[in-house]
């Protein structure tokens, strides 16, 4: 059976190299022009713990990580069990297991409906490939031969990857691929399931965090100060490698407070600057983001959301920093919030964040999440020419013209200077101030200046459109969702449409200020409205309510984080909404398989 969309899952111990095999597979897909999304997952151990990955390959752009797995490779079942619902397999799936595993012990609820195939991975690696560590590479050979994956591409990737270690290493790994392929040929040959593809234009393979970092660099960001935190650290790691090549600076600050304030300082100096963090770091940055709002400094803050509250679940996604991003500062502190919905978006959102920050002189928060930030996708090379490199409005400093740094203008944007500009000297401050920057504690000044600053949001929402709509024009069920939910939502909308269910989705990417008119138009066009989000308390729904955008009857589908949405569950939620009822996710079955839950 030919297919052009296949999902492969692998699980094993740290030493089994399943993630590295996944990386090679994804990279070779990219090189062949095949679309892919790869998710990795690790246990709490830094080393030697369990790890897994799931790769969806398709000849068409893939929207989400996909629902159930078509081909599963498991080196170790206890390891597999730790990933619970993340690795659900479909009925009829191929399950490749170690030869020694007993079929009756396989803890899949639908094991009886799967095609269990025993393969002596370990033995092949040790005896035939001559290297116990090459088990994952042997596996790639097996997968390639069984399911028609791009084996030549895999070999090329292996070559690139091991080149530095010398030709012997490359040859040994190539041999491991061959060992796997030959084993398949000798034992039953290719499976019925065949991934039919032909080579296309090469794609890039990168994570959302890398795309964000690259977008910032392209926008002209030349200063990053951050403090390490999962799942945002890759932004700093990538920029610490690339930024110096462009004469920029990456500072690993002593904490997040220092990081955001260094960014405030750099921005005051006229340099485009950014910091990257996750929830706990965001919480620490609130005061200084408010300072940027008050002093009207262009700064960009990336929050790659993870499970919360507090330390929460650092390695998994959630969408529950939304209210903090919008309302987390004390006082009325105007700023913007943008949310990327996939890896490609990360690039655009990053440069647009700088565009907004620099032109409107305010903090812009990029609200990414672990699911977009850390997943790897194949995407077409970015069109760098689309990037607008924003320039701040500067004042007339000629003799005799009085420069007022915080001049009250119709848009609220006051032309600004920075050190080095003669005659543009001014005092930036977090204390309330008059148009010329002098401190003031008068209500009248406050009212006027707070009005001026907030006017920038009106100007922004008037000028800037960043919202996406998918599906039917007058849907039976209209979905409002945001951020990384987009993939599964869009996929569900398309599937439902193909199956005669009229659905549509609106995904705002400018989260604050909201484009209220667009949302109102959408809401008015829907028979039933369904808000979908990964926040137990329903932050997005509350936020829409706060903006007066929800009709009396709004349905919702919300779960807490710790996993990705699947298109399948969204479909179910939409089908329920079509009947006017709310869908509740079933308690996940695989959970019962686990021994101890603690990590």
């Amino acid at each position: 059976m030919d297919c052009n969309d296949i999902i492969i899952g692998m699980a094993g111990s740290g030493g089994d190299g399943v993630v590295s095999a996944g990386d090679i597979l994804t990279a070779s897909a990219a090189a062949e022009g095949i679309y892919a999304i790869m998710l990795k997952s690790f246990g709490p151990q830094i080393r030697g713990g369990e790890s897994s990955c799931r790769i969806r390959l398709s000849t068409k752009p893939v929207l989400s990580q996909g629902d159930v797995i078509d081909v599963l490779v498991v080196f170790n079942w206890p390891d597999f069990a730790r990933f619970g619902a993340e690795l659900e397999v479909r009925d009829g799936a191929y399950v490749l297991v170690e030869e020694k595993d007993k079929t009756e012990d396989i803890p899949l609820p639908n094991a009886a409906k799967c095609k269990i195939t025993k393969i002596p991975f370990e033995k092949l690696a040790v005896e035939d490939a001559g290297n116990p560590k090459a088990k994952n590479i042997v596996t790639l050979g097996v997968l390639g031969a069984m399911f028609g994956l791009p084996v030549e591409g895999i070999k090329r990737e292996i070559e690139k990857k091991f080149k530095k270690k010398g030709p012997e290493v490359v040859a040994a790994n190539h041999k491991a691929v061959d060992v796997g392929m030959e084993y398949v040929k000798a034992h039953g040959g290719p499976a019925e399931l065949h991934f039919a593809h032909s080579s296309g234009k090469p794609l890039m393979a990168l994570t959302g965090n890398e795309a964000t970092a690259f977008g910032a660099l392209a926008a002209g960001c030349r200063f990053l100060a951050s403090y390490p935190i999962t799942p945002a650290t890759e932004i700093m790691e990538w920029l610490s490698r690339e930024m110096p090549k462009f004469g920029g600076t990456v500072l690993q600050a002593e904490d997040e407070i220092s990081a955001i304030n260094a960014v405030n300082g750099a921005s005051f100096g006229g340099v485009k600057a950014m910091t990257s963090t996750s929830g706990p770091g965001m919480s620490l940055m609130m005061e200084a983001i408010g300072l940027a709002a008050m002093a009207e400094l262009p700064v960009v803050i990336v929050d790659v959301q993870r499970g919360g509250p507090s330390t929460g679940i650092p390695t998994k996604t959630e969408q529950a920093d939304l209210m903090q991003a919008v309302y987390g500062m004390h006082g009325d502190a105007p700023h913007a919030v943008l949310a990327p919905a996939d890896v490609e978006d990360c690039f655009e959102v990053a440069w647009r964040a700088f565009d907004i920050a620099e032109r409107y002189q305010m903090p812009v928060i990029i609200l990414s999440d672990q699911l977009v930030g850390q997943r790897k996708e194949t995407v077409a090379p970015f069109n760098i020419d689309t990037v607008k490199v924003a320039v701040r409005a500067t004042p007339d400093l000629s003799e005799g013209v009085k420069f007022k740094r915080y001049e009250d203008t119709p848009t609220g944007i006051s032309p600004m200077t920075w050190p080095g500009m003669k005659g543009g000297e001014y005092l930036a401050s977090g204390i309330e101030h008059t148009e010329d920057g002098s401190p003031s504690s008068m209500h009248e000044t406050h009212e006027k200046m707070i009005e001026k600053r907030s006017r920038k949001l009106d100007a922004l929402s008037g000028e800037f459109k960043f919202i996406r709509r998918y599906g039917a024009d007058k849907p039976h069920v209209g979905i409002l969702a945001w951020g990384s939910s987009k993939g599964a939502v869009r996929e569900a909308v398309e599937k439902l449409g193909a199956n005669g269910v009229s659905a549509a989705a609106l995904i705002p990417e400018l989260m604050h200020p909201l484009q209220k008119d667009e949302i109102r138009k959408f809401v008015a066009s829907c028979k039933n409205l369904l808000v979908i989000e990964m926040s137990h308390s329903g932050q997005f729904e509350h936020y829409l309510g706060a903006n007066g955008l929800l009709p009396e009857k709004t349905l919702h589908y919300r779960v807490s984080g710790g996993r990705a949405f699947s298109a399948r569950e969204i479909e179910s939620a939409v089908r329920a909404a079509a009947e006017g009822v709310e869908y509740k996710a079933k308690a996940q079955e695989p959970r019962r398989m686990m021994g101890k839950d603690e990590e």
């Binding site: 990279a27 750099a266 600057a273 050190p419």
Partner: protein, 287 residues
């Protein structure tokens, strides 16, 4: 670059300070303006960053670029500014609460990095702006509005801390001796690397006018001793911790690579001899 005709007044904004009559911070303001004039700094190339406090009002009284930011964060803001704009003269100023209490964690890191910026603390051993609470430099036993029965905390010793943080320039002066203060500021601005100056600047309102007498009677100009070697860490240490007198002068000064020096080399290493374009970088995603 130096502007021969610079006068101290050119560096003032003209805004009238709201400090209490007799406050030590007036002297610091004057000294800063005079030092800038002496150095002939173009005022558009100078940025003075502060936190919040009576002392942190200072940038508002200067005509240079200024940033009166939030409590405790003058140093990281100044660091971000200096690192991204190495062409500027960047001075961070603040109070003992601002820089030693809430902002205390920035000192060791800015010191060890040896970022080429300057820091003046107006140390009045009290929280002035918030009306008289105990500070990390308030002497033990002192009664303040939050230590009704006398403080039970040993104060920190700022100079000792800065020495142990490896600040490459550590000095102390007081508001009582304007000329000394000016000379210290000039010296610190000329130093390449992170320079720290503690100024004993009396808060007449919450610590009393007596502070002037206390400081006057206990001061000792340590670097006026013949043969004083400011590169001798052990001597510096001694002067920093001696309970006998208040050491005034440059306790320690030793040059070493700044962060900026090292970063320049790092950039060269990263570039590896060729100019990099965005397209080059993007190719990295295609391996």
């Amino acid at each position: 670059m130096a502007d021969a005709k610079a006068s101290p007044k050119d560096y003032l904004s003209g805004l009238k300070p709201i400090w209490c009559p007799g406050c030590g911070d007036f002297a610091v303001l004057n000294a800063v303006a005079k030092a800038f004039a002496e150095l002939g700094l173009p005022k558009e190339k100078v940025a003075v960053v502060s936190g919040i406090g009576c002392s942190s009002r200072l940038p508002g009284y200067l005509g240079t670029y200024g940033f009166n930011a939030i409590h405790g964060r003058a140093l990281p803001i100044a660091a971000g500014l200096k690192l991204s704009r190495p062409d500027l003269t960047v001075l961070a100023v603040g109070g003992d609460g601002d820089i030693f209490s809430i902002g205390g964690n920035h000192l060791p890191h800015v010191s060890r990095r040896n970022i080429d910026l300057k820091c003046i603390v107006m140390d009045n051993a009290i929280y002035g702006l918030t009306k008289g609470q105990v500070s990390p430099t308030t002497p033990i036993g002192e009664k303040t509005v939050t230590t009704t029965y006398g403080s039970i905390e040993d104060p920190i010793q700022p100079l000792k801390l800065l020495l142990s943080y490896e600040a490459s320039f550590v000095a102390q002066s007081t508001s009582l001796d304007l000329n000394h203060l000016i000379s210290m500021i000039v010296a610190m601005m000329r130093h390449k690397g992170f320079a720290f100056l503690n100024v004993r600047s009396p808060c007449v309102t919450y610590r009393g006018k007596e502070q002037y007498d206390v400081i006057r009677s206990r001061s000792k100009y340590i670097d006026k001793e013949p043969g004083y070697d400011a590169t001798d860490m052990r001597k510096a240490w001694h002067h920093a911790i001696t309970p006998e007198y208040i050491s005034l002068g440059i306790l320690y000064e030793k040059y070493r690579d700044t962060y900026e020096d090292r970063r320049d080399k790092l950039r060269e290493a990263a570039k590896a001899g060729r100019d990099c374009t965005l397209t080059d970088v993007m190719k990295g995603f295609m391996k």
